[in-house]
Symmetry: C2
Subunit: 358 residues, 2 copies
């Protein structure tokens, strides 16, 4: 586990360097004097928005690569590919924050809010924020393209990177769709929410990092896809379920986030669906009224948490997570790695699930 | 010239087919029943937003490929690469319309407006519109990636496609920067506007279509870049200057657009900069007051057009266009193609400039 700190010490400055280069105007032309200020402001914001992630995805990809391949000559390219996943996440979050009208991200102003303040214009700042998301989304593909050239299965890596990006974009569409889903059919809501987790979260959090490592280590693309999905899908679903659960029960992990944030925002989660499914008629009606209202106050948030507990929804999420984690572990065993590599990969995957939920 | 109709007859349905496939969820997973409706609505909108372009960029790329290469076995891949440019344009326009809060595009509701109506929610519809732009921006790279595999210089084509995308994104940032540029220094404004034309228009309208054709025909990447830039930069600048000029003097080309639309919106154009540069103190002040105000009425629009005429700004734009067109023609001659190919390429390029402005 001592490589984590080392990897972070390499990944963090490398992300900065790559974002600095690739969010700026390419060398194919020059920028007019009068426009250099705005260009500089966007690059600065790109660098700032790229900071502060936990880099779980990059670390998983690097650890999986190390477990699968001993190729030291390829490790720098693998680091860049791992950075590309993180830059993609930043791109997605920048647009996410515009869609959700979020003012904050990782404790700082969100990209479009920061740019609004920098240029003293809400409309131009928001426009620059939207473009910053576009710039980072293209930049991460260019990072992946350069890295893939030095790795095994280069073309399959690029193809998989683009598929990952499409999956997350589809996931965002489906997530907006969940907000329009009726609360009358909680089984359908639970299924829809889990489906969004697969597209919007598991895709780039666990499936793609594992897939890139398998491909870069020379595993044939078809086998690599099957293996990455078998481990990454349950692991990614468990990760998102744990994240939603911790939002309700609290934990040291999500410091700074007040408990019940998802409930306050009226988010349609698997927890809510499970509570609606198990509730008696009166509780169910109360929950439905609460979540169909435009806002929920602190008393209602506490009451909803109580109902999630009483109906057994919280316990059911714990069970869901444990089953998915078991499934992921079983799928890792199917990779038939040596004992040490197997252990290394299990530890890398375990980082996505708090110990008391595994 | 008889190939244009044939090419259009192939390009148009191919764009539809590619967008239909690549704006939908990839085959790597399934979409939950409750979410299939929203997914279908986004795919339908992707197809609808992709229709109705003049396909000038695709035609230039195909004509240049035909002038440079006789490889019939590669033409289908070249058609797909040409479609990728058009899909990229749609992606860029979808985000452009969100930034500019435009309700209409190509005579139909803009993507986000159409989606707002479809889902009966302004915030969710706008979010889906933003994601639709993201989906198309990724889709076009996947189209280019598949096509490039069958063409000469495949990796350089992908690299150039990503560079083109970055250039346009930078151009959009700089265009927002121009809106914040002072009118006190018209020379700097003219320089800044022409700079935006290079990044935001010439990049994907003329430079990239020519570059893809050169690369696909097997010209070495360094030479290809120089040649594409030498022709494409002046041609693209002339195209945008002509477009801005026609917005003021009117033409059959831009049917449906009312004359003076740019002035009404207060757009900072080269025409405005040239008028400010040449105007006497009183006219200059009047123009500055007019363009610094939040709105301009019909009388002011007519008055501004009169001032563009009187100051010689309109004539200067005509001259700028003629000089740039001459430069592009000269650069085509430097490619040293055979007489027939040379003529074919000149005709393909001439389509970007109305005959009376060449």
């Amino acid at each position: 586990m001592c490589t984590i700190a080392n990897d972070l010490a390499v990944v963090e400055p490398r992300i900065r360097e790559l974002v600095q280069e690739l969010s700026d105007a390419p060398a194919t032309g020059t920028v007019a004097d009068a426009l250099q200020q705005v260009m500089g402001e966007v690059v600065d914001q790109a660098v700032s928005s790229s900071q502060g992630g936990k880099r779980l995805r990059a670390l998983l990809s690097l650890d999986a690569f190390d477990a699968l391949s001993g190729r030291a000559d390829m490790r720098n390219a693998m680091i860049d590919l791992a950075c590309a996943i993180e830059v993609f996440q930043t791109a997605a979050l920048v647009h996410d924050d515009i869609i959700d009208e979020s003012d904050l991200r990782r404790g700082k102003p969100s990209a479009h809010k920061a740019l609004e303040a920098t240029v003293h214009s809400a409309s131009i700042g928001r426009g620059l924020g939207l473009m910053l998301g576009d710039i980072l989304a293209t930049a991460c593909i260019e990072i992946a393209r350069r890295a893939a050239k030095q790795l095994e299965n280069g073309d399959a890596i690029i193809e998989s990177f683009l598929t990952m990006q499409r999956e997350v974009e589809i996931g965002q569409v489906l997530d907006l769709g969940v907000e329009m889903t009726s609360l009358e059919d909680p089984e359908a809501l639970a299924q829809a929410s889990l489906n969004v987790f697969r597209w919007k979260t598991a895709s780039y959090t666990t499936i793609a990092p594992l897939l890139f490592a398998l491909l870069a280590a020379g595993v044939d693309p078809e086998t690599a896809r099957q293996r990455a999905l078998a481990v990454g899908e349950p692991l990614g679903l468990a990760f998102q379920l744990a994240d939603d659960l911790l939002d309700v029960v609290g934990s040291s992990r999500n410091t700074g986030k007040p408990v019940g944030g998802d409930i306050r925002e009226g988010k349609r989660t698997v927890l809510l669906a499970d509570a609606l499914s198990a509730a008696d008629a009166a509780t169910r009606q109360e929950l439905m009224d609460m979540f169909e209202a435009p806002h929920r106050d602190e008393t209602q948030v506490e009451r909803a948490i109580g109902m999630f507990e009483q109906t057994g929804a919280i316990n059911q999420s714990r069970q869901r997570i444990a089953v998915l984690w078991h499934e992921a572990r079983k799928a890792i065993a199917d990779w038939q790695l040596g004992e040490q590599s197997n252990q290394q990969l299990i530890e890398a995957c375990a980082r996505f699930i708090p110990a008391d939920l595994r």
